[in-house]
Symmetry: C2
Subunit: 145 residues, 2 copies
């Protein structure tokens, strides 16, 4: 660890229901996290697509796998011409070459979702092989910020 | 692309409010996605920690960066002895070496959150450099599944 480097960063984006009027880049209602958190392994966006909202273009990727996790509302996702209904708890992995697009099918409810992209085949270990559980007992209340 | 390989996979975990009784591995209320979706760049879990629930141990990682995204409820996350309040829209990046633990501080409400781990420094390009926008017009309704 470099001098003065800390092992964490925090972002408070607020409630998903308030994202509707945020514009970062070309798409309204999308908040990116990589830059604000200094993420080095993934780009992540928090999203609110309004009633009947549609992404207006197909896209694919060069080397990144993409994961969509749906949190609220109802929509359709299309990958390589196949369409699937999405609701709370639906997650969709898309390989870089998959041609994808998404829309909110509700006339009244926002569609809340998270999109994560990371480099395909980059993960070498996880949870039980990468995690290290420490033996020291957990203590709370020493430094609340 | 291999013969018969498709560019996507889908998982329907259901509502976060129903995760409370799920047990996968050692922690109740945690649903992992890597295996069911064949993810190759990240491990992801969908989580519901019950009122006053606490992770009972500190942990860190060997090579994976971790990102916590909070969706509902209120809690405290502790990294290297520093504690931070978390609510909907809070996201926390933790470097592999950060010693972390988490608890739900509400006596009545579940804490819903997503945890993503991916290999630190593995991302080489993103969004505008990795994404490819296609010129073909978007069409819907050809193959609803």
């Amino acid at each position: 660890m470099e001098p003065n480097q800390v092992n964490y960063s925090i972002n408070h984006a607020g409630a998903f229901s308030n994202f509707g009027n945020v514009t970062e880049g070309m798409i309204k209602g999308k908040i990116f996290l990589k830059e604000s958190l200094n993420l080095t392994s993934m780009e992540v966006s928090l999203n609110n697509l309004p009633p009947k909202g549609e992404i207006p273009f197909y896209h694919k990727h060069q080397e990144n796998e993409e994961l969509y996790i749906f949190l609220k509302g109802q929509g359709l996702i299309q990958v390589d011409g196949n369409e699937f209904e999405v609701i709370e708890g639906t997650s969709v992995r898309i390989a870089p070459d998959g041609v994808r697009v998404l829309k909110n099918t509700s006339a009244s409810e926002d569609l809340h979702f998270i999109v994560i992209q990371a480099k395909e085949n980059s993960l070498s270990q996880w949870v039980q092989t990468d995690g290290i559980i420490l033996e020291q007992p957990v203590e709370w209340g020493k430094s609340v910020k």
